[in-house]
Symmetry: C2
Subunit: 210 residues, 2 copies
């Protein structure tokens, strides 16, 4: 009706206000409770709208879930893994990269997204791919590119940059990630993080120094 008079905002841009409000509520509920335990009632209540309104903006629970999981974290990962330290000092570059990787990895919201993505991977296979591409794959590519460049410049000896990148990330991830996911609450404090990052850098350099 009058809709024709109002030029709609760009196709998939900003977001119709109320939709954003609902999406934020969905994120809160899903990340805290998981897909199965979250109810549309709870999401509507949290958003402060009725369920009918909710269904006016989104097709159903699954679409809402997909929107949350494939949400803004992809851009997070991209920003936070941009080169920062001078490329001619591998130790400094690796340490900087490691610190930012660990900070992202252990961010409470990132942990929650990881939990539900992995937990629902069987039910939502495409979501798993999206998540992997949006986060983990990005980090790997960034580090691989750096290692390849450092090798070309003769500053590191890295015959297989992609594999070396996985190794470096793994040395930091494995001691910290699962404990955090399960909330074991031991061995994941800032002190340990620093120790683990430093150790990964040392081991990596010992193996790949020119």
């Amino acid at each position: 009706m009058a809709q024709a008079d109002i030029p709609p905002s760009r196709p998939d841009a900003p977001l119709p206000a109320k939709a954003a409000q609902i999406l934020a509520a969905a994120k809160e509920v899903f990340l805290q409770q998981g897909f199965g335990a979250a109810s549309m009632d709870a999401i509507a209540r949290t958003a402060g709208v009725s369920k009918a309104t909710l269904y006016a903006h989104f097709q159903g629970k699954e679409e809402l879930f997909a929107r949350v999981v494939s949400g803004e974290w992809a851009s997070h990962w991209k920003q936070e893994t941009e080169p920062e330290a001078p490329a001619d000092d591998p130790r400094a570059a690796l340490e900087s990269f490691g610190r930012r990787f660990v900070a992202l990895l252990l961010h409470p919201e990132a942990l929650a997204i990881y939990r539900i993505t992995v937990g629902e991977a069987v039910r939502f296979p495409e979501l798993g791919r999206l998540f992997f591409e949006g986060g983990p794959a990005t980090v790997r590519r960034r580090l691989t590119a750096y290692l390849a460049a450092a090798a070309s410049a003769g500053r590191l000896r890295v015959p297989d940059p992609a594999l070396a990148a996985e190794q470096f990330l793994g040395m930091m991830q494995t001691p910290l990630h699962l404990r955090s996911l399960l909330d074991i609450g031991e061995g994941t404090g800032p002190r340990e993080q620093a120790r683990i990052i430093a150790a990964a850098v040392e081991t990596f350099l010992a193996a790949h120094r020119t």
Copy 2:
């Protein structure tokens, strides 16, 4: 009734036949569908019993779930990580350990247990601890003990055996595990597994050789 005449089997030993049958069905359904999506109906149907029978043997869904998750995999991890190669050859020992670790890590059933444990970690915190102790912690302890011994024998230089163990495991786990959990289906075949294990051994030795 006549039950008094039959000496009951040891307290928590073998298992009352039908209970085992139900537990097997529960395992199948939970591992395939997760906690939320699994229904007691499906479990009863799979077990070939009525729901009433099911509830006669187990308190409810949560108990069944806990029994499945904290099930026989703990003993699996223990058996499969026993030393196998001669202790005086670190390369052979690490390779053997690595191969068995990866095989366990990527076993379809182990992947399923990991998915649901991590996915339901918020709802069942104690289950997370149980899982960690029964699996990951065991592997870490075994490898740590081996590295400490090898260091004492002067065959490796390992100032911090526990951390070194995490690093070695991480170099194999990170390239393979998440891809398998999400069924990305790329980079996790036997060929890649072998490459990754060999590379982890080389990097580890380069950093810790005496």
